[in-house]
Symmetry: C2
């Protein structure tokens, strides 16, 4: 149903501009540089040519399109809206100055909705940064390209009520090569809302996890109904902002949200299998764990490290209920200990955490991961790939990849360091292995895989 | 007292090697490349020259030195120890194979301590990566330089029981330009311990904050006594690992630590003004806040953002007691609101968070920060420097720097994004402004500045 929005065969840009600082230029530039391959119809009464695209003087001149992006101010948007709606399956009016500004703006908003309904066009927004779909090259967002990054294609669909928070978040994760299947900013949400989109991405083959930033649900009950359905086959992570009284007030000023009690939301999320994130980092960290990792229902974690202190802090985070995730450190099988001690790394500490010390080699990791994979007392493995010691090479990524894909046990990777470690983080990402740049983030990702198994157990029973 | 260790006028490397993969080579290489300017005396029976340094065949040939680094295996270390002790104020035996391996190793350890005591030499280690002092260029740590970074000079002294955790942590923060005044790995801690070092760095003019990674205190009461004294003038952050039963067991296998109850430790830390970190990221994040930021005793925070959603999530984190830091969002003075609305940014939301939207310019930030600085209802400011929007430039760093230094209110900066934002994070760091790459980390840093004010209030009363 949203295929024409996600992969439009033709796009009109209403309010196309020659001025590089205008959104009417940026959208065209985005289409050109992000590899959009469909038809492009810039519309501007002045005509001419922009970025090699022929500019149409009047929307009447262009054929029907899948998607129209209106880059005009609010009043002009309303003025052209009927003509645009006649030609378009989807319309994205970018401008603010609608419902978020008060009753007058609200009226403008009602007007465009009425027009759209009449013509059977669907509206994303208004007051939105719009959408970014890496694989189709549609990108309506205005951010300065020299100072930010757009992510590549991936398995995470991102539905957000805050455009800026969404773009910033994608920017920060793009550095490690994290990709997205779609990014949609709901804006004032006069028409298309999170519920329809959640259902759509629930069935979308390109999407393995749906994440949402929401300040208020359009229809909470409906969301829960759909979420319960979708989360049987696909994990959902929600960052519900405005969870405190004061945060709720800030949200109401931001998107007009009226949130309910946070305890109620929490209970509802649990019931319908939604995993909760509390900030922009958790939102994407959890999505990556769920997109790449295997859920596990046991709670016994084996930790592999070459740095003893990292093993100790990890153990604390795994076991602690207060500052930690309340899982358990596995008691390794005697046979596992024997193998590690006698066949693999005689100098290692074979208790869990398995500490191979700075003498560890790639092959030592291989042997230890094999032994842990065979250990009936181990439900999941957290392995630290620390590239600072001399006997470790980039081959460690291949070894972990092998056990991630071939092994029975879920694996989460931690890596701590600067540029080189970040590059390796990108390498893990590329191969679909959940990897994290800090102890706490790695442990929390593990916990989410455990939660996911329990959600599935509950929903499927 | 530790001056000859931190800034030695002469260094002997016992076991100097031509083999680039040996620590006996790496230490010399480190001295050469980190700009050590004192005398260097490599010692190896083969003689010759390494990296341009003349190699002495026998330790008897060299004059007395401030520091000797022994890069030989345990048994050889013991064999040469008497000769080394005769010549040295400080000795760092790098090798493992001492007390951490069992009773026999313990005996070797006792032997070197006895020798050192007899000659009045002090020992760091054994079983240690040693020390790294950026400003004197002494660096005994073996990590692969192509895959890691050593930080530059800075204001944080880092005392750690785990060498690897320490090096990894410094590596990851070096990426943002975070510097350290000293790094000392206690290793098996036969002689020099955290208490003496804490006292020393408490008086060290180069150090503004002391951070410790500790699995077990050598003498907890003594630590608390010194910490209470030092923390009156200098903040102390401790990562006490092994805080859970299982973590304690892991610690005992790692460094032979025998930890006590975590609740007792927590109470003791509070009493003596120690700020607690739970992982490697908090440890350095908190240190940076405390090194650069102003403590504040009120609890009313103003938040400035150009991204509405970021303001909402921040509000939740500031106000929440469960997932948050339990501070308050300031109720802005009416005059502040008037100034912001009428004189600075008419399009901004003047409630707190102050949301200037993507239209914000550098000057808008300037005006808003000025107004908030003058607001009697505001105790601290969290400002998001988001460089993705078109009207923001690098000048924003100058503006925030001005208010950070000139203004009365403490400022913490948040910035979210990829390479460019990371570069700006480095720029803030360079100017001594506490800046963080995520919402949660920025809010937690603020909280630590608040805690610090209360610690000072309690200790000084």
């Amino acid at each position: 149903m949203f295929d024409s929005l996600i992969s439009p065969k033709s796009v009109a840009v209403i309010g196309a501009s020659h001025n590089p600082s205008k959104i009417g230029y940026v959208v065209l530039k985005n289409l050109a540089t992000h590899g959009y391959r469909g038809e492009v119809y810039p519309v501007n009464p002045k005509g001419g040519e922009i970025l090699g695209y022929r500019v149409y003087r009047d929307i009447g001149e262009i054929p029907p399109v899948d998607l129209s992006i209106i880059t005009l101010p609010a009043e002009l948007t309303v003025r052209v809206f009927e003509d645009v709606a006649r030609k378009s399956k989807f319309i994205i009016p970018i401008a603010g100055g609608f419902g978020e500004t008060g009753p007058e703006g609200k009226e403008l908003e009602n007007k465009i909705l009425e027009i759209a309904n009449r013509h059977g066009a669907r509206v994303i927004g208004p007051n939105t940064v719009g959408i970014y779909i890496p694989r189709s090259g549609v990108n309506t967002a205005l951010i300065v390209p020299e100072r930010s990054r757009f992510p590549g294609d991936g398995k995470i669909a991102f539905i957000t009520q805050s455009g800026a928070l969404g773009l910033l978040t994608m920017d920060s994760f793009a550095m490690y090569g994290v990709g997205f299947s779609a990014f949609i900013n709901l804006g004032n949400r006069v028409d298309v809302n999170e519920n329809e989109l959640l259902r759509y991405f629930g069935d979308d083959d390109h999407t393995q996890v749906v994440i949402l930033y929401i300040e208020s649900f359009k229809d909470g009950r409906e969301f829960m109904r759909i979420a319960k359905e979708v989360s049987v086959r696909k994990p959902i992570v929600v960052l519900k902002a405005g969870r405190t009284a004061r945060g709720g007030k800030a949200a109401s000023l931001h998107t007009g949200a009226l949130g309910g009690s946070d305890a109620v939301a929490d209970g509802a999320f649990k019931q319908c299998g939604v995993i909760r994130a509390y900030d922009e980092v958790e939102l994407v960290d959890y999505a990556r764990a769920l997109a790449y990792g295997k859920p596990f229902s046991g709670n016994r974690v084996a930790v592999v490290t070459s740095a003893g202190g990292v093993g100790v802090v990890t153990t604390d985070y795994i076991e602690s209920d207060s500052r930690g995730v309340g899982l358990k450190m596995a008691e390794l099988d005697e046979e596992t200990k024997r193998i590690i001690r006698e066949e693999v790394v005689p100098f290692a500490s074979v208790e869990n955490p398995v500490d191979m010390t700075a003498q560890a080699s790639d092959d030592d990791y291989d042997g230890v991961l094999e032994a842990l994979n065979d250990d009936p007392n181990v439900d999941a493995i957290l392995v630290y790939a620390l590239f600072q010691t001399p006997l470790i090479s980039e081959r460690l990524v291949d070894i972990i990849e092998k056990w991630h894909h071939r092994g029975k046990k879920p694996i989460v990777v931690g890596t701590i360091g600067s540029e080189f470690s970040m590059k390796m983080l990108g390498e893990f990402e590329k191969r679909g292995i959940p990897a994290y740049p800090s102890i706490e983030r790695a442990v929390k990702a593990l916990r989410v895989l455990h939660d996911r198994a329990h959600i599935l157990g509950r929903l499927i029973e």
